[in-house]
């Protein structure tokens, strides 16, 4: 047992830190720190900087242009980038589709799509969820019917994050209604510019159009865009869901959130003292910090096991639940901390260079928005109820 990092790992951390110090634009880290809206261009700018260094596809092997890092390196990279307030890397092409294509895609698909993910030519979005499905992901109703060299796709996807920026979407579609619902699903790559596709933003309770509905009406997709075999899409989908979980615990986000919470509670005054010195508030902050200290170690233990070749079992479900609960608690405390200034909803101030000054402290609106927005954490990526089910099944074997 040893909780410390090796000298090599510490050297790697120093290298990452130096890179961030040199290359992460202050404009971008400032926006992230202040909770401002990031534009499509902001993300693309950061992706390009990372790609220049070869550090964009962090989970990718070197043969496909990745850095070939082990899990501990990835963990260090994630810790450092989050602490430095770097924009998050948009995961749909890099963390989700990439690994699926590498494993199940044709050589042509690999050769065509993988470089375009890295160099930013394609912005991918995810077409998994459907309005009637919820946690029952395999309940795919969007159909793809073969017609010559094309599939004709009809149906609707929803919760498509940042779909408004995307030119490509990977979709689960139903190509057969025989057998169990998990059978008969195929995995299709679809150009968003194909006629018959309509994207409609969904405004969430934080007022932001983060997610979208995507409608398909007789959309013709070349058969060459099928990944792997027809009706085997559920296998690829599950593979993707497993790989989506590389940073499921969100330790870095939680730490950044905790630091921000302490800053806010240090500035807010109650009864003539900083809020952070109020024993009730201090107790809640300390409690979540203690939970986070333990959860960070649970995360490292899981990473170490993965590095030693053990397949993650219920552990990743445990990390999903605990990690999201901790982040939501931090969000709730930050909302509480801003006091009466949680009320104003002058969201135009979140745009970079907006003329509107924030109402009250500049951290007030982002903290409130984050509370509302991060209710999603326990819903998406397999709801916490689904995770608890997985955990219980694994141990009870009933």
């Amino acid at each position: 047992m040893d909780l410390s990092f090796t000298p090599e790992q510490e050297a790697f951390r120093a290298e990452v830190r130096e890179f961030l110090n040199d290359k992460l634009p202050k404009r971008l880290s400032g926006k992230v720190r202040q909770g401002k809206r990031l534009t499509k261009q902001d993300y693309e700018e950061w992706h390009a900087i990372l790609n220049d260094r070869g550090w964009l596809g962090v989970t990718w092997p070197t043969e496909h242009g990745g850095p070939g890092w082990d899990v501990v390196q990835r963990h260090i990279f994630e810790e450092e980038t989050t602490a430095a307030h770097a924009p998050r890397v948009v995961p749909f092409g890099l963390a989700m589709l990439g690994p699926v294509l590498m494993t199940f895609g044709s050589d042509e698909q690999k050769a065509h799509y993988l470089p375009r993910i890295l160099n930013g030519e394609d912005w991918w979005c995810q077409g998994y969820s459907e309005p009637g499905a919820g946690s029952d992901l395999a309940n795919v109703q969007t159909t793809a019917v073969r017609d010559g060299d094309h599939y004709v796709v009809n149906g609707q996807k929803t919760w498509t994050t940042l779909g408004q920026h995307a030119n490509m979407i990977f979709c689960l579609v139903r190509t057969s209604k025989e057998g169990k619902k998990q059978e008969g699903i195929s995995f299709l790559l679809i150009d968003m510019n194909t006629p018959g596709i309509e994207v409609r933003p969904i405004v969430l309770i934080d007022g932001e159009p983060e997610v979208n509905e995507v409608w398909f009406s007789d959309v013709r997709v070349p058969v060459a865009n099928l990944v792997g075999e027809e009706n085997k899409g559920w296998t690829y989908a599950k593979y993707l869901l497993t790989h989506e979980r590389t940073n499921i615990a969100g330790v870095g986000f939680a730490r950044a959130g905790l630091a921000s919470l302490k800053r806010i509670a240090g500035e807010q005054q109650q009864d003539g003292r900083p809020l952070i010195e109020n024993p009730f508030f201090a107790a809640k902050v300390a409690q979540v910090e203690i939970d986070l200290m333990a959860m960070a170690t649970t995360n490292l233990r899981t990473l170490a096991a993965a590095a030693a070749g053990q397949a993650p079992g219920a552990e990743s479900s445990m990390l999903k639940v605990k990690g999201t609960v901790i982040r939501q608690q931090i969000n709730a405390l930050a909302r509480q901390a801003v006091g009466p200034y949680a009320q104003p909803f002058a969201s135009e101030s979140l745009d970079e260079g907006a003329n509107a000054e924030p109402v009250g402290p500049d951290y007030a609106l982002p903290a409130t928005q984050a509370y509302f927005n991060n209710r999603k954490l326990s819903i998406y990526g397999g709801s916490n109820e689904v995770q608890r089910q997985i955990i219980a099944k694994a141990i009870l074997e009933l």
Binding site: F280, G339, Y341, A342, F345, R375, I379
Partner: protein, 368 residues
């Protein structure tokens, strides 16, 4: 011991519920928030005709209610409907004017006054007033800033507190002034959960007559006003919880997943049961406060109830969203609005922790 409504209150409740159900729509709320005043003036007139402001005051004051349970009946219905109208302001202003021996019949008739008291650095401390008023030859020279003044954009006039003596956090030395919109600068904005408020800046000389009541003595009246307004807000929160409950129960019954209504899943059933229990607790807490609003233990109940409402509101909001899944986070579905509005209850008149601390002080001083 009687938990039934009087016939008059029952009639008011029925009429109000019917009217609001017929009149208020989610779109209407959003639309109103986008207007200059943050609410629909025509609707306010109709509510005035129904007797809403009047129910806030006793007959001697020119109304036909005024007791805690009158507030409860009215605000629970407003909460159910989820709309923002300046009735909490009527409660606040009414208590302040009444304490100063001023007539309140205009308020009972629907006049809108805003209260500018809280300041940017005051958080929830009622005693912290940095705005200063000095008596000069021309009248009162008043300089300061006020934070999140609800319904200021709609108010014909504004009650404003300023310090005429004492340290920034002294209870003594706080005075009340009546100012006109022309005396102040407003920066107005929409609120999370509907309605509008403003940041207020004042740097003006007011006439002698602007002072309401004796100088330096407004703190007691502010406490009374906030006690009554807290009861109103808690009752409003209770109404919102009832709507969230209805939405969630309906959703659990209708939404199907894995081949059955999700309300058949035992884990959700048990969590819903806990939510229902806490909403009953919230109702009892509101009853406790409204029943003690004119009694010696008023402030103990103010803090007990605001604390419990704050905790329950968070549970209700978070569980309702979670049980709904993604749809619960969108503004397209009614829950979204109620979730935001109900969450904001904890950010006005002192939050859960603020009132827990105050409850401990109150309970201690009662015991000794």
């Amino acid at each position: 011991m009687d938990f039934r409504l009087t016939e008059e209150r029952q009639m008011l409740q029925d009429a109000l519920r019917r009217f609001l159900a017929d009149t208020v729509t989610p779109e209407g709320i959003v639309e109103a928030t986008g207007t200059a005043t943050g609410f629909a003036p025509a609707l306010w007139e109709q509510l005035t005709e129904l007797g809403l402001p009047g129910a806030m005051f006793t007959e001697e004051q020119g109304g036909f209610g005024g007791a805690g349970f009158d507030l409860m009946v009215v605000f629970e219905e407003l909460g159910r409907a989820g709309l923002s109208v300046p009735l909490v302001e009527t409660v606040l202003s009414g208590a302040l004017l009444d304490a100063a021996g001023m007539p309140v019949d205009d308020l009972a008739g629907g006049q809108i006054l805003a209260l500018a008291h809280t300041e940017p650095a005051a958080r929830y401390d009622l005693n912290r007033v940095d705005t200063r008023a000095e008596r000069t030859a021309e009248g009162w020279r008043v300089i300061g800033q006020k934070a999140v003044v609800h319904h200021a954009p709609a108010a014909k006039a504004i009650l404003l507190t300023a310090r005429t003596s004492g340290a920034a956090d002294a209870e003594e030395g706080i005075s009340l002034f009546l100012v006109t919109p022309a005396d102040v600068t407003l920066r107005d904005y929409p609120l999370q959960g509907g309605g509008r408020a403003a940041e207020l800046t004042i740097d003006a000389t007011l006439p002698e007559s602007a002072l309401i009541g004796p100088a330096g003595t407004a703190f007691d009246a502010l406490q009374t006003a906030h006690a009554r307004a807290t009861a109103a807000l808690c009752a409003e929160a209770l109404g919102m919880m009832e709507t969230v409950k209805t939405l969630t129960v309906d959703y659990l019954r209708q939404r199907r997943q894995f081949g059955q209504p999700i309300g058949k899943f035992q884990a959700l059933q048990h969590r819903m049961a806990d939510v229902l229990i806490e909403i009953e607790q919230a109702r009892s807490a509101v009853i406790n406060l409204c029943g003690n609003l004119d009694g010696p233990d008023r402030d103990l109940h103010v803090s007990a109830t605001k604390n419990l409402i704050g905790r329950t509101a968070r549970l209700v909001v978070e569980e309702a969203i979670q049980m709904h899944g993604g749809i619960g986070m969108t503004m397209e579905y009614a829950l979204g609005h109620f979730a935001k509005r109900l969450t904001m209850v904890d950010h006005r008149f002192g939050d859960t922790d603020y009132h827990l601390e105050r409850f401990i002080r109150q309970a201690k001083s009662r015991a000794s």
